[in-house]
């Protein structure tokens, strides 16, 4: 990498005359400027909840490091590149992500990965409610979401494709809440540490892990270990949640002409 790349830094906590940190519009405008200038590395310091950071970034070589706490909608419509957060992320991280990689060295909030259809999201710690809602896949391209700790209710609701892995590190008992996979009609959810049938939502079921599943899980754990420099105990059994049907509401409707 060139020397100037190493120096590309924006202080998001910089105060204006009124003592306010950088406004999100100004911050995002500067980020876009940096990306447009052909730089491929950017460090954001002292991020204080500024929203919509790096939305719609497309450059696959772009690497954005975030120190502090980015606000909601981090990396929305992300289409390439890497965003690495050294701190916690808030709600709707990776909203409708299409490609790229988001790594969070902390927790992420509710609806993480909403409607994503590609890319990878690795969260070291816990995540909130409705994680991975309505993620989907097309022709082998689907998102991979890995959450290291605990995930709350409605994980993978409406899920139409893609892969979610919950590792449950340092969690006692099942690392997922209730209504897992409610209304899911595609994709797969892996839960290290398992879950009970009563935790499943309608249209989801438990399935046996096969060789392919083991490979997928092992590969995702590799990525997690590498990203956070943690060793994951692979002897803990992993449960798999699958959709009962790709058409969960067949038979619910009557199209008779009356």
């Amino acid at each position: 990498m060139s020397k100037r790349s190493e120096n590309m830094m924006i202080d998001a906590g910089m105060r204006n005359d009124l003592g306010h940190p950088l406004d999100y519009r100004e911050l995002n405008r500067r980020i876009r400027e940096v990306i447009a200038s052909g730089e491929d590395r950017l460090v954001l310091m002292n991020v204080m909840g500024q929203r919509y950071i790096a939305s719609a970034t497309s450059n696959p070589r772009m690497r954005i490091e975030i120190h502090g706490t980015p606000g909601n909608d981090l990396g929305a419509f992300l289409n390439g590149g890497v965003i690495e957060v050294f701190g916690n992320a808030q709600d709707v991280t990776a909203n409708t992500m299409n490609d790229g990689r988001i790594i969070v060295h902390g927790n992420s909030g509710d609806i993480t990965g909403l409607a994503a259809r590609g890319g990878t999201l690795l969260v070291k710690g816990n995540s909130g409610y409705r994680v991975g809602i309505h993620i989907k896949e097309f022709e082998g391209k689907g998102p991979n979401l890995v959450i290291g700790g605990y995930v709350n209710d409605y994980l993978g609701e409406y899920m139409a494709g893609g892969t979610i892995l919950v590792l449950g590190l340092e969690v006692e008992g099942s690392p997922v809440g209730l209504h897992v996979g409610a209304g899911m009609h595609g994709g797969r959810i892996y839960v290290r540490g398992g879950l009970e049938k009563h935790q499943l939502g309608p249209a989801a079921c438990l399935a046996d892990m096969d060789e392919k599943d083991e490979k997928v899980v092992s590969n995702l754990i590799d990525q997690y270990e590498q990203a956070f420099n943690i060793k994951v105990d692979r002897s803990v059994p992993v449960s798999k949640v699958m959709p009962l049907d790709s058409r969960p509401f067949r038979g619910h409707y009557d199209s008779t002409t009356i």
């Binding site: 992300l78 289409n79 008779t256």
Partner: protein, 504 residues
């Protein structure tokens, strides 16, 4: 007792065997399998939906379709339709589906409103000889006029993006999936030719249609189908779909049968799965959350395109609209009770929401009271059937009207309300290639262009007759309307005087 009770047929098909030349064309044309050829004659089976494809295509006009007299004993309360629906539900146990707009006998308020015209004290204008402006601007108004050093108005000084259309008409959001490739291509091409905007619907944008993106409005619905950063940057405006007039509060459900290769590619979902749009956006539980989605779309498009919000007309529409404008929407679309759909539960289609006439006036008044009206473009849709409806809707408060069903009718649709079955004999609401090829894109485009051109000419005629030289001066000009219907309370709510009342 039979497990299923047969529902009496609704339509009678009669073949005039003297006129019939046994060409069997009708049998090929009928996509519902009603006609058959046996013993050298066309035979009629059950299941006619009165789409009239065979009637119109028969080279010798030998087919007649008529409504059968009801075979149910007359009853003032239990209408035949109610009895049919009960029988059907007892047969299937399912939620009854239907399509197109509400088919219940709710008041059509447009027909109860009369337009004013200029006489003596204000002169009328002849639109064929004097200019009458129908250009319409979509987007957030700057709220101020900037004059440059030469004393000229600086149009580029506005901080917000504005889309210019040649008519106050937008072709509403109809997704690829609910209609065929050829039908959507025709709508988009017509919008380009007319320099108006067409909605893409929530199914994303097919690669072939990107060249027309400058006349398209991208829809971001709860399913986010096909929504990519590239797509958002290509189109001229972006619309967040919260609701649809035909099914307020309901999500989308494209059955797996329709999710074939073309749809699967465009929506970016696996072949043959149901395409489900969640009922709510799960990132929006409040106006503040809506503000976030508006903002993230503006950030993602670098503030270069207007971002709007579309809601169904529901009882508290005024307050909701106010919140949406405060959340930063550049334009706001209200879709009324009678708005169309490719598939909706009949119970919602016919029983939930508010007619667009009332909704548009209520929203216009509310925004006016709160000093917000001049900030946004207000679009109104939900059964704008003719130029007369359009003109009345604009005078009630809309800047732009959204039109869908009439554009379908221009392509051949007969409003038979079978869209949800995916077997549209006119090639519109179907994904079966042998049916969708019935739409010739060039001809269908021409027909849609013709219709809207005629509407715009009619708009000019009316504006001229009212003595108004620009459609912008008609927006919310309720003083030029009079109510002549049965319920004066409606006139009060519409803020329209009763017929016979003068200027005061």
């Amino acid at each position: 007792m039979r497990p299923n009770i047969k529902i009496p047929e609704k339509y009678r098909v009669v073949i005039d065997n003297d006129a019939c030349i046994s060409c069997k064309r009708c049998i090929k044309e009928c996509s519902y399998g009603v006609l058959d050829f046996k013993d050298e004659k066309v035979k009629v089976k059950d299941g006619c939906v009165s789409c009239l494809r065979c009637v119109i295509e028969c080279p010798t006009s030998a087919i007649e379709v008529s409504e059968k007299p009801s075979q149910f004993a007359p009853h003032a309360v239990f209408s035949p339709e109610i009895r049919r629906s009960i029988i059907s539900q007892a047969n299937s146990g399912g939620v009854l589906l239907s399509s197109c707009g509400a088919n219940a006998e709710y008041m059509d308020i447009f027909n109860d409103i009369l337009l004013d015209a200029a006489q003596v004290t204000n002169p009328s204008i002849d639109p064929l000889r004097e200019p009458v402006e129908t250009k319409t601007y979509l987007g957030r108004r700057p709220g101020k006029v900037v004059v440059d050093e030469n004393g000229k108005i600086d149009l580029d000084a506005s901080e917000t993006p504005i889309v210019v259309m040649d008519m106050p008409i937008m072709i509403g959001h109809i997704s690829l999936g609910s209609i065929s490739y050829n039908a959507q291509a025709s709508l988009f091409r017509a919008a380009s030719e007319l320099n108006i905007i067409a909605g893409t619907g929530e199914g994303g944008l097919h690669a072939d249609f990107y060249p027309m993106a400058k006349n398209l409005c991208a829809e971001v619905a709860s399913g986010r189908f096909g929504v990519t950063s590239n797509y958002l940057r290509e189109v001229s405006c972006v619309d967040i779909k919260i609701g649809q007039g035909a099914k307020p509060g309901h999500g989308g459900h494209l059955p797996g049968e329709k999710v074939q290769k073309l749809i699967s590619e465009t929506r970016m979902i696996p072949l043959g799965t149901d395409a489900l749009s969640p009922y709510p956006h799960h990132d929006i539980y409040s106006i503040e959350d809506l503000q976030q989605l508006i903002s993230v779309l503006k950030e993602s498009t670098e503030y270069k395109v207007p971002v709007g919000v579309k809601i169904a007309a529901v009882h508290n529409v005024g307050a909701i609209a106010s919140g949406i404008v405060r959340a930063g929407a550049d334009f706001l679309t209200i879709d009324g009770l009678r708005g169309g759909t490719g598939s909706a539960p009949r119970v919602i289609r016919d029983h939930a929401g508010m007619p667009i006439e009332i909704a548009v006036s209520a929203v216009d008044q509310r925004l006016e009271q709160e000093g917000l009206r001049d900030k946004v473009t207000l679009c109104a849709s939900g059964s704008i059937r003719t130029a007369a409806d359009m003109i009345k809707c604009i005078a009630l408060g809309a800047d732009v009207v959204g039109v869908c069903t009439s554009a379908m009718v221009a392509m051949g649709c007969t409003v038979c309300q079978q869209c949800h079955r995916g077997a549209c004999s006119w090639g519109i609401a179907t994904q079966r290639p042998e049916l969708s090829s019935r739409i010739d894109i060039d001809i269908a485009t021409r027909r849609i262009v013709n219709m809207f051109h005629a509407w715009n000419e009619e708009l000019k005629e009316i504006l001229g007759a009212m003595g108004i030289d620009s459609v912008e001066s008609l927006v919310g000009n309720r003083d030029r309307l009079r109510y002549i219907g049965p319920n004066p309370r409606i006139a009060e709510i519409l803020d329209v005087k009763h017929s016979g009342e003068g200027w005061g």
